[in-house]
Symmetry: C2
Subunit: 220 residues, 2 copies
């Protein structure tokens, strides 16, 4: 798609002369495949245990292709973060677009968080980003900035919906959005560890309970 646009990844094309040619499409394709493979590998093995060779192999290449597109494990990890934030923001916007009515939006939001609690890759990857931030002070600010963009986005929609409904939140909307997402992921993780300790039905129940508690309670 975009060859030298927003991207922050270390690697940089030397501003291809004038040929928006076909090789670039090829490169872009392998880049996408590598990112997808990295997403799966990081979620499956965790950042530290993930091997570049596994990422490349999963995408159908060897490490040669990897180093042609990324500088290091950290590099692709951050590239993944960018993509990931963008995707999630577009998801929220899509949700807004599909529902005009505030009531509907609230219901859609409620359902959205329920769906989040079913996406294993999403939860594990999200965890990796957070753990990386906590454990790597030098990268903390960068990661936080990205995640903050996401939160404020999720928070905004929550605030707008609440305002349309004439209700108020007991805490800042960003905090509420953060808490709702974190809660969904946390429940999923428990389920993954021991599905008998927290069934799907129980998770749904708890999510609804929490969502309603946050949304229904008035500012004290």
């Amino acid at each position: 798609m975009n060859t030298s646009s927003i991207v922050t990844s270390g690697r940089r094309k030397k501003a291809a002369p004038t040929s928006p040619s076909r090789q670039q499409a090829r490169t872009a394709a392998t880049r996408r495949k590598l990112l997808l493979a990295a997403e799966q590998t990081f979620a499956h093995d965790g950042y530290e245990a993930a091997r570049l060779e596994d990422i490349a192999a999963r995408a159908g290449y060897t490490r040669g292709a990897f180093y042609a597109n990324f500088d290091s494990k950290e590099d692709i990890f951050f590239a993944l973060l960018e993509q990931w934030v963008a995707q999630r923001i577009s998801e929220v916007n899509e949700l807004l677009r599909r529902h005009e009515n505030p009531q509907q939006r609230l219901r859609a939001l409620r359902e959205h968080y329920a769906q989040i609690a079913k996406d294993r890759r999403l939860a594990l990857l999200s965890l990796e980003f957070k753990l990386f931030a906590v454990r790597h002070p030098e990268a903390h600010a960068r990661l936080r900035a990205r995640q903050r963009g996401l939160r404020s986005c999720g928070g905004d929609i929550l605030r707008r919906v609440m305002k349309s409904l004439g209700r108020s939140l007991p805490i800042s909307s960003a905090a509420a959005a953060t808490a709702l997402g974190a809660f969904s992921h946390a429940m999923l993780l428990e389920h993954l560890v021991d599905s008998s300790s927290l069934s799907d039905a129980e998770i749904r129940h708890l999510l609804g309970l929490f969502f309603d508690a946050v949304v229904a309670s008035q500012k004290q």
Copy 2:
């Protein structure tokens, strides 16, 4: 303390002839120091990134002492799990012992979960155990068994308290205990990633909200 009792760690004394001597105390002491160091190191760096040399150094030894007491990183990790579960269970029992009145117990429990959300090491270590379980199928059952012991313990007290109060939970007591613990840890993690997105006060508020929602709602 106990030299060859419950422990599951690979290492095993050759049933010391007849001497309940003083070297054993020394060994036990270094074992404790190593376990403490491991706890800190695993929480700080994560299981994969944690180096045995760091653990030993933090305890004031070299790797020689480590291998004299444990077989591998996995070995000490599991030893830590045992100790950790035992500690948490004793905490809960202590809580029960200190409060007789059901109402008081409920309040104490509520406060307990609030405190959990302040212990960084506890949250990160707990996460490591869970992630390890999810990512290491061969060890999954073992870890699950331990954590389950903990949950059922926490669940029991919840159930008893609720019964004394003539209330009922909307979900199984084990699930409720699991969810409450997971929620506290999740909030703390978000706070660690970005303290401005979720303040201490907001966390307290949300924890209370959730606790009350779980405890107050009637079985549907």
